[in-house]
């Protein structure tokens, strides 16, 4: 199998069909990232658009990070754009007002142990949806995609110190929202 760099060179030298190899290789990762960032309803469209953005931006890939880290960067930025657009649309709508006041019970028992709060994917998705986009992105990239601190720093264009602090804040916020929802 060709390396990512070789595939990119092949595409840029006039063989767009070689991009299919990239899509095959990364479709699951990109779709999963979109799913956890923008939710199930828009995940597939977002993933397709992200791949098109990746294709359009291939000439900007300089190889300073691994191709997968760069791909995560393009995809997460695309998801952040979608979330920003969605926020603008929601702010004035009735849905936004209802959503702000809405709360949900995570379990039938309000005396459950802390670990019970994170028992299923729906709960985690529910909490993620209530987090600010930047915090959501770093948490998803770390916990679902398993990026290291160095990769997070490259994918989000922030320093290592900021990665540590933002990740810590994101986790605290995640737990706070989870507790509030109980």
């Amino acid at each position: 199998m060709n390396s990512d760099h070789e595939i990119v060179r092949n595409i840029l030298s006039g063989n767009p069909e070689a991009f299919a190899e990239i899509v095959h290789k990364y479709q699951e990762k990109v779709l999963r990232l979109c799913f956890s960032m923008v939710g199930p309803a828009d995940a597939e469209d977002a993933a397709q658009e992200a791949f098109l953005k990746v294709y359009d931006s291939l000439s900007k890939f300089r190889g300073e990070s691994s191709f997968s880290t760069w791909l995560y960067r393009v995809t997460s930025n695309h998801c952040l754009d979608i979330l920003a657009k969605r926020k603008r649309q929601k702010e004035d709508s009735l849905e936004g007002i209802i959503e702000k006041s809405g709360e949900r019970n995570f379990s039938d028992s309000s005396t459950g142990a802390a670990s019970d709060k994170f028992a299923d994917r729906e709960t985690v998705v529910w909490v993620l949806e209530r987090m600010p986009p930047e915090e959501r992105a770093i948490l998803v990239l770390r916990e679902i995609e398993g990026l290291s601190y160095t990769e997070l720093s490259q994918a989000m264009s922030i320093s290592m110190d900021l990665v540590k602090v933002r990740l810590f804040r994101a986790r605290k916020l995640f737990q706070k929202i989870a507790k509030k929802g109980m």
Binding site: L31, R32, A47, F118, D120, R121, T123, R142, L167
Partner: protein, 156 residues
């Protein structure tokens, strides 16, 4: 080191991002601090859901659909659309609106400027017409011009 800073290190410990020496200190702290231990256990359970609960399977034709869109773009580019036009229509809606608004403002400025030139002395063509009519009416009132002349009928 305050407790929040220690907690930050505990998360780094869970992530496996500490040096062996720092990891030893973090493990030692966890043995003695119930608060940090509870938080670490809670986060480990969340981590398990993150890692196992987000398996997604792309549709079987997912990559075909992506490639179809790419082929459509490549074909459109090959048909001779200049690349800058394709790029313009690929812009987000608000950017297109901003470009259109800028064009309208610049166009309006030059259009108004041209209209003003017609009247001369900085007055618009509309001002010029009104001034002419007012002048004619004043002459009529003073008897210096008859109705026929005012209506544009020439002298015989």
């Amino acid at each position: 080191m305050d407790h929040e800073s220690i907690k930050l290190k505990i998360y780094e410990f869970i992530d496996g991002e500490l040096t062996p020496e720092e990891a030893g200190q973090a493990a030692k702290h966890l043995e003695t601090c119930a608060d940090c231990r509870e938080e670490a256990d809670s986060w480990k359970s969340a981590k398990a859901v993150f890692q196992s609960g987000f398996a997604v399977t792309p549709a079987s034709d997912f990559s075909d659909r992506v490639m179809m869109k790419i082929r459509e773009r490549e074909n459109a580019a090959a048909k001779g659309w200049p690349s800058y036009i394709s790029e313009l229509f690929a812009l987000p809606y608000w950017e297109l609106m901003a470009a259109a608004a800028s064009f309208f403002i610049v166009f309006s400025y030059f259009f108004v400027d041209q209209v003003r030139e017609i009247g001369g002395n900085g007055e618009s063509s509309i001002d010029f017409v009104y001034r002419s009519q007012e002048s004619s009416l004043a002459q009529m009132a003073l008897g210096g011009i008859d109705n026929e002349e005012a209506e544009g009928v020439p002298y015989e």
